[in-house]
Symmetry: C2
Subunit: 212 residues, 2 copies
Amino acid sequence: MQSNLAVTDKTQVKRGPKRADYSIERIHQIIDASLLCHVSQCVEGQPFITPTCHWRQGDYLYWHGHSHARNLSVGQPVAVNICQFDGLVMARSAFHHSINYRSVTLFGIPELVTDKQEQTEALRWFVDKISPERWAQLRPITETELKATGIVRLKIQEASCKVRAAPPVDDADDYEWPVWAGVIPLEKRWGVMEQDPVQSVDYPEPKLSDAF
Amino acid sequence: MQSNLAVTDKTQVKRGPKRADYSIERIHQIIDASLLCHVSQCVEGQPFITPTCHWRQGDYLYWHGHSHARNLSVGQPVAVNICQFDGLVMARSAFHHSINYRSVTLFGIPELVTDKQEQTEALRWFVDKISPERWAQLRPITETELKATGIVRLKIQEASCKVRAAPPVDDADDYEWPVWAGVIPLEKRWGVMEQDPVQSVDYPEPKLSDAF
């Protein structure tokens, strides 16, 4: 059974509502498939925006920053977007050109993670999202490092996703227009690993995930 | 000679200032190398964020939307970010893990493009950014389509960029820690073109650019 989040004034998709989806599973999938999010905040009416890496544990979206960084926005409303650009949609008219994408927008007020054990666990989760089992191989984290790292989490409860994954949709009269139409997928993959030139031992290469 | 934008309270990079750059050329390069931006706005203290496609003409960043779309934000301050995620930076400690990236943040108040000829020219610029020479091959744009499309532009004058393109930087004591360290580049490329299945003629495939 699909579980949906409640639709609110903020998450009601107004443009292209037929592409909107409030399925928790779908929202989690898109969050997990991405490494980069954008955090938007207001400071006295002035918008700010910060790209940062995120991860998810259960019903919470996490991100981190310097313990005094603006993007942590503790106690202040944020809007967060995660968008995967999947391909170009080439139509017969300029108007119907589009892109295929998977996009999630979340709203809420982030809370600071203050418990040291929770902080450590969250960072382990983050590192192992990027490279499974890596945390255990690293030089252990120190108290000073934990103090310098601010971690916030946002409950995934006011959110929507919008997905386009389809060929072009043209006006009925345009289908015979003599120009190539279709989709050009954007492919992402990890390239050849570049070991730190100062490292002379051939350590095993890190495992990778499919989150880009 | 390199031309720099003036640094303001909003564009002063506070975290990692040594990665900051205010070079107009560098900012233009990053804008041009990307198709997707994120527009952040405030509505009565509530932040909103919209991913959308952008293009550049001279000193202006452009984007479009439905003529009544929120992301156009005419006359209201916005913050816009364009971020290219270029690779994972794998250090010996969790703390020094990072990513390589190119990021531009712009501030300002967008203005609506209202002149029909300017609108048409802007959309041609947009289409031809994605696929050089495509505009001329398309079914010509109509008055109705122009009316339904809102185009805004933001002068590129209050902006900064931040770039990381380097191996990991670890604590001096950690360099001998026995774990693979280095950079894992993220590669992006256009995949095999998927022609619209309803199209039975083999039209020449569209030209592509290197903006992803």
